[in-house]
Subunit: 441 residues, 2 copies
């Protein structure tokens, strides 16, 4: 296995590159746009996530010996293309929505500018990262809204492929989760990690009491004991007998949670453990979290539903050519005409239009050519949504790593505040604000 | 970033290991089992996939300096546990279903034997890999059944996180797909790769005709031209004018496919291109494929639905302690009692019971202790389903790499033939065969 990310790519990008280098169109300046025609599942907003990861993966996007040999041996491209790929480094420019930003149908989430050959081969990698991470972040943001002030932990690694699990932990954190069970996400991005014990811990011991006693000895009375391996009522009683009324928390992972949480709270209070917190973790999604709002629950652990986008495991973002130069060097807006999958040609600048601090529209200024579009801070269109992520091949490192992750989270929590109240409802509906296209001057 | 896979792990496995090393239970011999309580989505069978990947990831499951420092700095484990982890290599034994095998509720898909400390920390990695890959393979197998003799290509990389995309291509291939667009899957596992051009190729050129001509020049007349960027009828006409009636194929990526496929076939035949094949690729799943059975379609390309498990992006496999020794060295079967999430204790051997060559039951022999269970070829229970994947820490390399992938695919296609006809229907139902528990002698 190689450290290169260049083969996280669909073959057709390389066959197009090959043919384009032959006929000369490979050097045509182009503008590609990554956007979504719709919001999945009647969601009222989408959350952009993955940008920081994509930039890091772009640093390793080069074709090594193994990749070049594969392309040659399988005759996927010819010698001219092999020589081009041997020296390939993306030297174009990428502007895009800040990670954590909200998006709506048509939002120009990424704009990739470069020659056709330079830009066409980023399609799959960019879509893979943004479609996955944004799907998770969008679901996570809804859960974070539903949970209010109560902390949410992401615990879904086991229900996502091993690398996606790390990315999902990051996306959930950006969208408002406070911690993850995934150690790699802690190591790579500084996300707070958590976790104490599984049912196997209780089953390993000769009695539940032995298991609790050993856990308290190792992790202290502030630990969280899992009380539902056998009988919950007995589990709570044993937990407090062993740990005392200073026990940090108990976790419930099964049963009818509103009922169970209420009876566990009552029992804890009766035993004098009024400060012992209740964490629930059984098959939660945003709806189950909302349904527990009036229950005496102190924290949520969410697994499957957050890492799988709560019913929508991928965003529906696409990567389309929207403008290019022709043989004479003039810019041409281009768009696919297919009836059910059309696209909007032209280079775009995007703004969140606000009235009294509340978002009222996603305003997209479309330029028919390649003219400089005004993206200044004071633009009358509203708050500018795009930033420069890569300038002539130079990646802005401030969006990567733990720093980029923290700033994406802060950005998300800030811009979510701009949304009208209707954006916060969980039911299926239209996007919370309309997308309005205007001509760029 | 490190090459280790040891941190693809939930923190609680390490806190349990830490506490178990302190209280002495860490050295208790244990049997963990990976199984599923149910088949997702009313599926009639599940397909085991990921085993070969898991074994390769297990080779890199060791704690390096970075991981150990993180655990120390964050006080997740104590010094004793750090010393244990520093030298950690899995030295136990793993038996399991062959990759490509079918599974049913309760099937002991993996049985991991070792000390508690040895075996508990494989939970997340094993589940991540098998839950993801099996979800994809299960959906893919249904699509492969629906497509009959027509070839299926996996093209969903853009709708899966970048590493999952590679795993998904492999899982789909094991379950009957014939090719993938994902280059990395070709490089790593020798899966046939395919792909020619996207809409951006047509949009890059001054006319559709220029684009087709250039593609045919580069890739030959056997290539597949994408004909729906503008008007499909004109696209077909242009394609044949440029490439001649020997054109290999056309691809349709939008519109009402049964209608469009029929009219494209008619047009091609009228133009004399009777041998030109039609590939369709627009939002297909197993139901859409089945609905096209009577249409003149020659091949399918499937994206989103296969990489997301067609509505069920994760299998619901869990990893549970089922037997362990007590303080006196006697074996004890253990099981969680939670009402909605119970488990079946004891070590198990599994057989597919056949009558006249047709599967009639998943027979699971349960041993209350750790006795050797008879898994011989001639077992009266039927065809033995488990093989030894890791013996005292030694990984069987025949299940890894391109060879393991090919043999998993062959195994899947072979054992699918054993299923009763009702297993092949797409509608929601009970598992195709019942799970029957018997006592092991």
């Amino acid at each position: 296995m190689t450290g290169s990310t260049a083969f996280k790519t669909d073959q057709y990008e390389l066959t197009m590159l090959d043919a384009a280098l032959r006929d000369g169109t490979g050097s045509r300046p182009c503008v590609f746009e990554l956007f979504s025609r719709r919001l999945s599942g009647g969601r009222r907003f989408g959350v952009v996530a993955g940008t920081g990861r994509l930039l890091s993966l772009l640093r390793d996007f080069h074709f090594g010996e193994e990749e070049l040999r594969f392309l040659r041996d399988n005759r996927i491209v010819d010698d001219q293309a092999l020589r081009y790929l041997e020296n390939y480094r993306f030297t174009g420019t990428i502007r895009g929505y800040r990670e954590g930003e909200l998006y709506f149908p048509g939002s120009p989430i990424l704009t990739v500018e470069g020659t056709f050959a330079d830009a066409v081969i980023l399609e799959t990698l960019a879509l893979s990262v943004l479609n996955h991470d944004s799907a998770v972040a969008t679901a996570a943001s809804r859960m974070s809204i539903a949970s209010g002030e109560r902390p949410l932990a992401e615990m879904g690694s086991r229900r996502a492929a091993e690398e996606s699990a790390v990315a999902a932990a990051r996306a959930a954190y950006i969208a408002g989760f406070s911690a993850t069970s995934n150690l790699e996400a802690g190591l790579r991005w500084g996300i707070p990690t958590m976790g104490t014990a599984a049912h196997s811990w209780t089953l390993l011991h000769d009695s539940e009491e032995d298991a609790f006693r050993s856990q308290v000895n190792a992790l202290g009375t502030s630990t969280t004991l899992l009380i539902d391996t056998y009988d919950i009522r007995r589990g709570v009683e044993t937990a407090i007998r062993v740990a005392g009324t200073d026990l940090g928390g108990v976790r419930i992972d099964s049963g009818d949670l509103p009922l169970v949480a209420a009876s566990v709270r009552e029992q804890l209070d009766e035993l004098g453990a009024t400060g012992t917190r209740i964490t629930v973790t059984s098959d939660l999604d945003e709806y189950a979290i909302a349904a527990l709002a009036a229950s005496p629950v102190d924290a949520y652990g969410v697994g499957t539903s957050v890492v799988t986008g709560s019913g929508y495991p991928t965003a529906s973002m696409v990567y389309k050519l929207v403008a290019r130069q022709d043989a004479t060097g003039s810019w041409v807006s281009v768009a696919k005409a297919s009836q059910d999958k059309g696209s909007q040609g032209g280079r775009k600048a995007a703004f969140r239009t606000l009235e009294n601090g509340v978002a009222v529209a996603e305003t997209i200024a479309v330029s028919s050519g390649f003219d400089e579009i005004d993206t200044a801070e004071e633009h009358p269109g509203g708050r500018p949504l795009q930033v420069t992520l890569v300038e002539s091949g130079e990646i802005d490192s401030s969006y990567e790593g733990p720093q980029g992750t923290e700033s994406a989270r802060a950005h998300h929590l800030r811009v979510r505040e701009e949304m009208p109240v209707r954006a916060l409802a969980l039911s299926k509906s239209d996007p919370a604000i309309p997308t309005v296209y205007v001509d760029a001057r």
